[in-house]
Amino acid sequence: ERGADGQVNILYWQAPSIMNPYLSGGTKDIEAASLVLEPLARYDETGAMVPWLVDSLPTVENGGVAADLTSITWHLSEGLNWSDGSPVTSVDVKFTWEYCTSEGGGCARLESFNGITAIDTPDARTVVINFDAPKPFPYTAFVGATTPILQAAQFADCLGPKAPECTEANFMPIGTGPFTVTDFRPNDVVQYAANPNYREADKPAFSTVVLKGGGEAAAAGRAVLETGEFDYAWNLQLAPDVLAGMQAAGKGQLVSAFGTLVERIMINLSDPSADLGAARSTRAHPHPILSDKRVRQALSMAIDREILVEIGYGDAGRVTCNILPAPEIYASTANDACKQQDIAGANALLDEAGWIRGGDGIRVKDGKRLRLLYQTSTNAVRQDFQALIKQWWSEIGVETELRNINASVFFGGDPGSPDTFQKFFADVQMYAQNFDGTDPEAYMAGWLCAQIPTPENQWQGNNMPRYCSDAYDALVAEMQGTGELEARAALAKKMNDMLMQDFVMLPLVDRGRVSAHANSLGGIRLNVWDSELWNIADWHRVAD
Amino acid sequence: MLDSPIARVEKLGVQFATRGGPVHGVEDVTFEVNPGETLCIVGESGSGKSVTSLALMRLVEFAGGDITQGRLLFEREAGGQVDLVRSDQAQMRSIRGGEIGMIFQEPMTALNPVFTIGRQLTEGLRLHERLGRHAARARAVELLQEVRIPEPERRLGQYPHELSGGMRQRVMIAMAMACRPRLLIADEPTTALDVTIQAEILALIDRLKQETGMAVIFITHDMAVVAQMADRVVVMLNGRKVEEGEVTQIFATPQHDYTKALLAAVPKLGDMRGKPYPELMRLPGQGPTHSEPIRGSDRPFLTVHGLTTRFPVKTGLFRRTTAYVHAVEDVSFTLNAGRTLALVGESGCGKSTAGRSVLRLMEPMAGKVELDGTDILSLGDEALRRARIEMQMIFQDPFGSLNPQRTLGAQVAEPLHNYPLLPKDEIADWVATLFDRVELPRSYLNRYPHELSGGQRQRVAIARALALKPKLIVADEAVSALDVSVQAQVLNLMMELQAELGLSYLFISHDMAVVERVSHDVAVMYLGRIVERGPRMAVFEDPRHPYTKALLQAVPVADPSRRRVERDLNFRPIPSPIHPVGYEPEPSVYEEVSPGHVVLTSECGY
């Protein structure tokens, strides 16, 4: 029965700062908004698409997607209402597209609306999205928590440059979800109450939700697992033994699931030497050491990924040798050799490449020491990884200098800072990356030659290793023209294997998500493909 | 009752526990004081006078002292004798302030700076006499009237710093008298004050004693004051009593050597009557070193003309100067080589400012200072620094003018390091010689100022001033802070040096007896102006200006048979030296009454 179970307390150690996912890219904001705002379809915990505000998914088979792949038609479910009681119509969907694409609004989800030329609303429940070219994967807009539907009436005056001025709307959007916002304190706490007009009469079971933010992961874990003050804690990035210790207190349990997030080492194929001035870390100067594939391979072979998983993630991680580890059909098995550490092999490779051990155990070639600068963002687990990898590399005669950079600098794109991951003024760097939803097309396009960050494009671009291969570019183009799933999967795998066998990126760990919930909380289905709170309507109290 | 002593100190011994082991403050001191009697305790600094009085109040304990032996018998008001050594602090509290009142040495620091006079005065009254707020206030006004403080009502709301030193000391007296104590202990109540104020306060204590019949223990090291006040005298030395007797007997036939030395060291006003040139004092135990009069020369060495120094007073939103303190106003004089010109006057009349302006330690506003033909006021920074070789200064406060953090040797050597006059390796020798000269043991070279007595410190200051072999020394109250015996030594030393090296002194002082002893010429200052100037003999023996006359009259005479009566005293409050911007005082006009002896005829505020 709706509201029967009282209040549920959720802890996000990163606090939501806005409730409009279009104005913020942050996961915390998207997930906090997902209790209120909903898309047409979303992914379930297995990564499969499920209809949400529609009755069925449009496909080519059922005619929902045009045969030439240039349009898709959605039919809204019957009797959908906004939380203020007004009906949801196709105009709202169309408005959402206009909202995000209007000039000067700074919409974070622009990418999802790429290629949409128009949205037609033949009737109140029908939405037809037209693309400028055949779109083999047309489910980018309005699918998943990142692109929910906004109420046209509420946001009508918030288009373009006016978007930031609509504080009321941005903080308390009207939605179709199981809850409505009653109080929003940016970067602090959000309070929700059950949506009286929610489409399922007996849901949600909770009458109110408190989503508290702030602090760090350890404290969040403690609050759920040890003191029991909270019912749910999000994303507990903690060392496995710490988590195990907390769980032993018996107040709650951990849940984990895997997505596409892969912690990897990027190898710089260009020369980051400061002497080069403006030409630093550009393709004009190949890397003096790492241009040799044998060195890159040796670096990979020296790493014991099992131990990294054990130390850093425990049950929330698993060894991977791919940068595209999921969904299942995209996962390659061609590179599994990397799962075994092989110091001897690595040494042999380096010997073969002409790197000879010097007196202090560090290899030298042509008077040049095998010395690498290894950078990453500041984060306890990453620093442990750095230390471990430095040790393994020292066993194969590689000297490593470690550097950690504040995350807000490292991941910020400030062209003035030398420490951003795009500039990559280091030999190798480590971070994690994934992609939205389940389709890897855009993700795999990140390693096109055109994606290399350079001074000319203000260091914008995703191709950090500065990898450039005509064969790879051709594969990307081919995938963009392929509609059939199996064929797309084969192409993606091929691209993955190409990158892996060239050792331009060294995948380390396939990182899952760990969250914790109190024993008394039922209905949790941890979902990494969508919002973690996607099914909060089904959450309820259970007797301990 | 009249026959039994009100308090009796028997074989008192006080010890202080210090890091270096126990120190005896006083040992085996016995004396008594009767109702209606004034007992004076004299002795040089550190002889245990204060410790004795604090022991009587049982306040030594708070200073880290311990009464180790003896008895302190006190006759209580209600009758019955108590031994204060054995009473507990609760009983002591009822005696302190109630039955024994105490006036402390330092009027500047003995009052709590953050409470009003009224509050501090009524505190004791409300405690001992159990008066209500209004009654206490009324009584406080009465008390202030008794000590002759003008506008008593207003004073109650003022803070200590708003009163002059003399007034503060009178407040202290009022406070001590508040509960009509039967015993008053006055610990050097006038040492820090001007002669004029001192005279007033002595008269006041005397009058109060007569009116109430209380007993007074009066502590001082000034024999002239003793002569004015005492019925009986106790002389202390190194924590022991060395002599006791009636005041006339002590002055007429001192028994102990120390008492004799003490009396010999006191410069008495009138001693130099008829002698135009200064002479060294004869001190027992010292051979007649330089008994010749010091003549000096007739060559003018320092000429000051129309010197004017004003301090800006800034007010308002933008810190504009709206008024000036006219500290020195149109001052002119001439000092001959090898001679001493004394600048005398009350506190705040501008003596120090004048001295410092001459040396350009302060920038005068107008005037002319010529030192041996050099115009000092027009020199640039570096030239002025070089000129300082010729002119040095000895400061008023021997403690304040020495850096507590540096050894004495280093401080005396400092001027030598500032100028390349002597090769570096000779500096140490010269400093040692200077120490010999001022009769300080060479072992003191490595000592710090706090390890010396005041007199020794002042000698260091003199050695430092002499280091560069200057021609002119400005001595700003160089001996005011010293004990009489030490003062006499330092004065002799200065005069000897003058005779030997031909120094000129600008001698600033408010002590007329000292001035009479050392100076060739005298200039009397009042409110920034010189009111009378001339050869010392002329000014002292024939004072013309009314202010000079009053000043001379206030000086206590070290002779118990020549006590002054209170009504002789007549001082007016000094007018304010602060005038708004644009106020231009008239120039000083002098009349020459005899050769070199001039008197101000224009208005000076007196």
Partner: protein, 300 residues
């Protein structure tokens, strides 16, 4: 007067200071403990030769044992070795940053107090530094200077300099304030005027007369400064602005260990004790030094 002056055996000032210092029981104890800590962290590695960065994955999270007297951390690194290495950095950072802050603070305080004209601008500068947000300031410094320093001095010394400068530059203000007000009072003292009348130049005036007399407040700032620097360094590591990650410091060890507080409390205790002990020792040492440097208290 012509004979060679016979000078007493020179009694050096430092001898006096030492005499005085020796009598202060707390100070001697504090000094001994501090010396002990310094000696241990700098000489200890000669005896305890395990490399603090050596990872022994099999020996993770061990309690104290003979092989690892202080136990091991989550990567199996020897805690004792890390404590020793960390102590070197922490103490070096603490001391140098404190000295820098003290130097800057004293300089600015003395200049502001001594020269009227400099007073207002320097005090406004102090206000400015007090109100600058520390974190962005550090980020800017790291951005501007890390590369240059790294190439000039090598990465570790470079970062060391950067951190020391960062801490120093952001913690001199209280010292400057205190010193200034003391100098203002000192300037009115008669011995300063006396020195001027002796022809002492401004520079000499400051070094001879002003500085020695403001030593006591400076000493107090120094004691608090070391503690502050050690703790700030740990906060910097926490924010990712500190030393390279494989470079242990006490602050970082403490910080890393707080997550393990319940499971392995000893890991928190070691660096916690080390920091507290150092701070306490320095505090008592400072008390004693202050007394010893003041000749008025000497021999009392």
């Amino acid at each position: 007067m012509t004979e060679r002056a016979h000078l007493p055996p020179p009694r050096s000032q430092w001898h006096d200071v030492w005499q005085q210092f020796r009598q202060h029981r707390g100070a001697v104890l504090g000094g001994a403990v501090f010396l002990f800590i310094v000696a241990t962290v700098f000489l200890g590695p000669l005896i305890w030769r395990i490399d603090p960065a050596l990872i022994d994955i099999r020996a993770r999270n061990q309690g104290p044992s003979l092989a690892h007297p202080f136990g091991t951390d989550q990567l199996g690194r020897d805690t004792l070795a890390r404590m020793l290495a960390g102590g070197q950095t922490s103490i070096a950072v603490g001391l140098t940053a404190m000295l820098l802050a003290l130097g800057l603070g004293s300089l600015i305080g003395v200049l502001a107090g001594f020269f009227r004209r400099l007073d207002a601008p320097l005090m406004r500068l102090t206000d400015l530094f007090l109100s600058l947000p520390l974190l962005p300031l550090l980020l800017v410094m790291v951005m501007l200077f890390r590369e240059a320093l790294s190439t000039a001095f090598g990465p570790e010394t470079g970062i060391f300099l950067l951190i020391v400068v960062a801490i120093g530059v952001t913690s001199w203000m209280p010292t400057a304030r205190i010193v200034r007000s003391d100098v203002l009072a000192l300037k009115e003292r008669e011995f300063v005027l006396a020195a001027r009348s002796l022809g002492t130049t401004n520079a000499k005036m400051i070094t001879r007369h002003i500085l020695p007399n403001v030593l006591s407040p400076i000493m107090v700032s120094a004691t608090l400064g070391i503690a502050n620097a050690i703790i700030t360094e740990s906060a910097l590591s926490f924010l990712g602005l500190g030393f390279p990650p494989d470079f242990p410091t006490w602050g970082r060890l403490l910080n890393d260990a707080t997550v393990y507080l319940q499971d392995y409390p000893e890991r928190v205790i070691w660096p916690g004790i080390a920091i507290s002990l150092t701070v306490l020792a320095v505090n008592y040492l400072g008390d004693g030094l202050r007394d010893a440097l003041d000749p008025r208290l000497r021999g009392r």
